[in-house]
């Protein structure tokens, strides 16, 4: 499903956006970046509470469709600026990770 449609269906707030026509192929929910590096797949939309700058690097390295910061965990401006520079899509959701993951799963696997 196209990223732009996922964003509107889930009511996400865009923080940094590049290519919103990207195909979202799956989801990954995890706060341990080493685990995301090892196991997330290209095209995944990643749901996390971790707001460190390394989130951008990991999303880029794994070629993820984007990152959703759950439960209103807004990253700092330097993280957003780096994501914009690297073309990494960042979004904010006010909902807890469990809700975001549930809704994303329903959307991708109706």
């Amino acid at each position: 499903m196209e990223l732009g449609r996922v964003v509107s269906e889930l009511g996400l707030e865009p923080l940094a956006t590049g290519d919103l026509t990207r195909d979202v192929q799956g989801g990954y929910a995890c706060d341990l970046l080493s685990d995301v590096l090892a196991h997330a797949e290209a095209g995944d939309l990643w749901i996390t509470h971790q707001r460190h700058l390394n989130v951008v690097a990991v999303a880029k390295l794994r070629d993820l469709a984007g990152v959703i910061f759950a439960r209103g965990n807004r990253p700092s401006p330097d993280v957003v600026a780096r994501a914009a520079q690297e073309g990494v899509n960042l979004f904010l959701s006010s909902e807890p990770a469990f809700e975001v993951a549930g809704r994303l799963h329903r959307l991708l696997h109706p």
């Binding site: 341990l32 080493s34 460190h52 390394n54």
Partner: protein, 251 residues
């Protein structure tokens, strides 16, 4: 200059997860038993027992003030100080940056400040084993502003290891890191090539008396002080460091 054997990661009875047997007197006795020349007591977000360990040791072994700080990202960082005031000032700041959760001794263990004679000074009621509301970068900056040295703890393991939690070394200097007691040095360098050329420490992460000195780092220094350690961590001034062998994995 000469080689000094150092264990710079020892918990005391002030850590909820640390054994109540880890009084200053016991820590000093075990450090002497293990042939350590330099130690640091690093309790979770607290430094207070370090001053009593230092009094008890009276220079044998030398004692750095220390603590193990858990950042908002849940990354653990060892902080070392030469003087008690700076360490205790940071302890007070961290305490106000901790969530206001009580320590339930049945779940977490007691958090006890014990003096050099074994008398209980006080019990810390707030749970120390929580992340503080400061980012990793803020923690490192604060430690350095107070004249201390920050070293990410057991970077390769969970929970709390910088590389395990954050996947990569974040931007910054990172002259030195600690690896887990059981990780062979060659394995750490293979898994994390970005550690090449950095100072690598190994500490015991002792939570029980018998674990003190089970892992160590040999330091080539003029004297066992923070300034000398800082040189060794950066590989400067002819100072050197050499992590000891890994222990058998216990977890």
């Amino acid at each position: 200059m000469r080689w000094w054997r150092a264990d710079l990661h020892i918990h005391s009875a002030l850590s909820p997860c640390g054994s109540l047997e880890l009084s200053p007197a016991r820590i000093v006795a075990e450090a002497r038993r293990a042939g350590l020349d330099l130690i640091a007591v690093c309790d979770h977000n607290a430094a207070e027992n370090g001053r009593y360990v230092r009094r008890r040791a009276a220079g044998h072994p030398a004692v750095l003030m220390g603590m193990e700080i858990q950042s908002a990202e849940e990354v653990e960082v060892l902080a070392y100080f030469a003087d008690e005031e700076s360490a205790l000032e940071l302890q007070a700041e961290l305490r106000s940056a901790l969530p206001d959760l009580p320590c339930d001794p049945a779940l977490f263990g007691d958090q006890v400040v014990v003096d050099e004679e074994g008398e209980i000074v006080r019990c810390e009621e707030r749970l120390l084993l929580s992340p503080v509301a400061l980012s990793l970068a803020e923690v490192v900056a604060r430690v350095e502003a107070l004249g201390g040295v920050a070293v990410p703890a057991h970077v390769d393991r969970l929970p709390g290891g910088l590389l395990a939690v954050l996947g990569l070394l974040p931007p910054g200097e990172w002259p030195a890191v600690e690896i887990a007691p059981w990780t062979p040095l060659s394995q750490a360098l293979r898994a994390w090539p970005e550690l090449e050329g950095r100072g690598i420490l190994r500490g015991s992460d002792a939570h029980y008396p018998a674990e003190i000195g089970r892992a160590w780092t040999d330091l080539y220094l003029a004297e066992p002080t923070l300034d000398e350690l800082r040189l060794a961590l950066g590989g400067r001034g002819g100072r050197l460091l050499r992590p000891g062998p890994p222990i058998e994995e216990d977890r």
